[in-house]
Symmetry: C2
Subunit: 263 residues, 2 copies
């Protein structure tokens, strides 16, 4: 009987590669960084990398493959980006074309894969600090919202920041700023605390993506830049082809969460 | 009578632009980030940006211009990268071809300018913490050394890390780690403390660049990744054309040092 949380990254990716696992990856290979995936043609790679560099809170770069190589040398040198995620989405000209579990047939020498930090790492750090994570408690997807905060554009890439929200007490919010500031590579400190309207969110109970969660009396909403941002922005450019992970079906790296803390 | 340290960045750059200042920029526009410059053809821009992203201690990115634009929009939107540094070096096929004070005649639509963090910012933070900076005390250039620490390659870009060295007591070294860890965008924490031979430096009194400085009894050498690294690595690729600042003649941004601290 496999305990997914106890697998090491190599074991977890192998399970996924041989198609013995097609579920979301939350909770697998505990303590290791999981990443969002965005694959783009080389022609767009400089602009997208520059976009990520200019918007590090939304687009924290974990690894970028050499053009044509499916191997993320720095974060998982034994992995293959084409087979080691449980579910992918293929977009053509900005429209979802297919959802599948292996993208080998789509891969070509012109492709560059970007691995971007996701919130799993800082949620782990929050939980270890006894800060509750409501969407986990309520077994829902994290609520996400389009904001009126503009990303810094780079070439053809531009658009609004998408944020995720976690409600907590004001005291916990201060601790959450401290805890997540240590992890700039996985979104870092919150971008906003409190009044949702100040960042263009009119109804906190109607997220643009994910599910609403309960905000209790005495709690404030705390907002973090969200990894959905770069995908939304890239989609807007309508690249001929773009491949991403399916929501929740992330890439598991060999990097430990704590290695990515700055202090 | 002009006091260079009291100028704001706009005033300092204007002085430079009209050729009323052709000296090194150390001490100008106090409190504002100064940056190393590297201009490369667009064809190399993705690989160089990826190299910087993979080697953030050596190559901390402050700003990157859009291809063909001489304006660093994020760090100094009123500046012109072609005229606002007191001295430039033009390299052709990896060889120094010319040193001049205005590169407008070289500029074309194919060029991308990279502004990379320099050590002035963290030296300012060290001084504010009463940590001595020997090369400033002795009025010399900081000693710099090639090491046996390999940078992480990206495409054609690869090579050893160059480090700068500042001697201090062991107690000061601990404080220096804390102080500079706050500034990952300007080289961040040291890469090595103590025995120079461990990183391939055989004679601490014979630096590869800059000048030797006195190491007093009871002091240890503390090594930081140095902004010379990306230039050395880029030169190795022998690009048809590459333009950099002349040593010490940096670009003055509108960004305050403290804005670039993570905590």
């Amino acid at each position: 009987m496999i305990t997914p949380s106890q697998l090491n990254p190599d074991e977890a990716r192998k399970l996924i590669r041989v198609k013995d696992w097609d579920n979301p990856t939350a909770g697998m290979a505990n303590g290791f960084i999981q990443a969002n995936l965005a694959i783009l043609p080389k022609e767009l790679a400089f602009e997208f990398l520059l976009f990520c560099q200019r918007n590090p809170k939304s687009c924290p770069i974990i690894d970028v493959t050499e053009p044509g190589s499916p191997v993320p040398m720095l974060s998982a040198p034994n992995a293959d980006i084409r087979t080691d995620l449980p579910k992918y989405r293929v977009y053509k000209n900005g429209e979802l074309a297919e959802e599948l579990s292996d993208i080998t047939s789509y891969w070509n020498d012109d492709m560059v894969a970007f691995l971007l930090g996701c919130s799993f790492t800082f949620e782990d750090a929050l939980l270890k600090n006894n800060i509750p994570i409501r969407h986990i408690e309520e077994n829902r997807n994290v609520p996400m919202y389009k904001t009126n905060i503009g990303c810094v554009g780079a070439g053809r890439f531009e658009g609004p920041m998408v944020v995720s929200m976690r409600p907590m007490t004001e005291k916990e919010a201060i601790r959450a700023v401290q805890v997540t500031s240590r992890f700039p590579s996985v979104h870092g400190a919150p971008v906003h605390i409190g009044n949702p309207e100040a960042i263009g969110i009119n109804n906190i109970q109607r997220p643009d993506f994910g599910d609403p969660v309960t905000i209790k009396d005495g709690e404030v909403p705390v907002f973090w830049a969200c990894g959905v941002t770069p995908q939304a922005v890239a989609m807007h450019v309508k690249p001929e082809i773009m491949i991403t992970h399916a929501p929740g079906h992330m890439f598991i790296t060999d990097l430990k969460n704590e290695e990515f803390s700055v202090l």
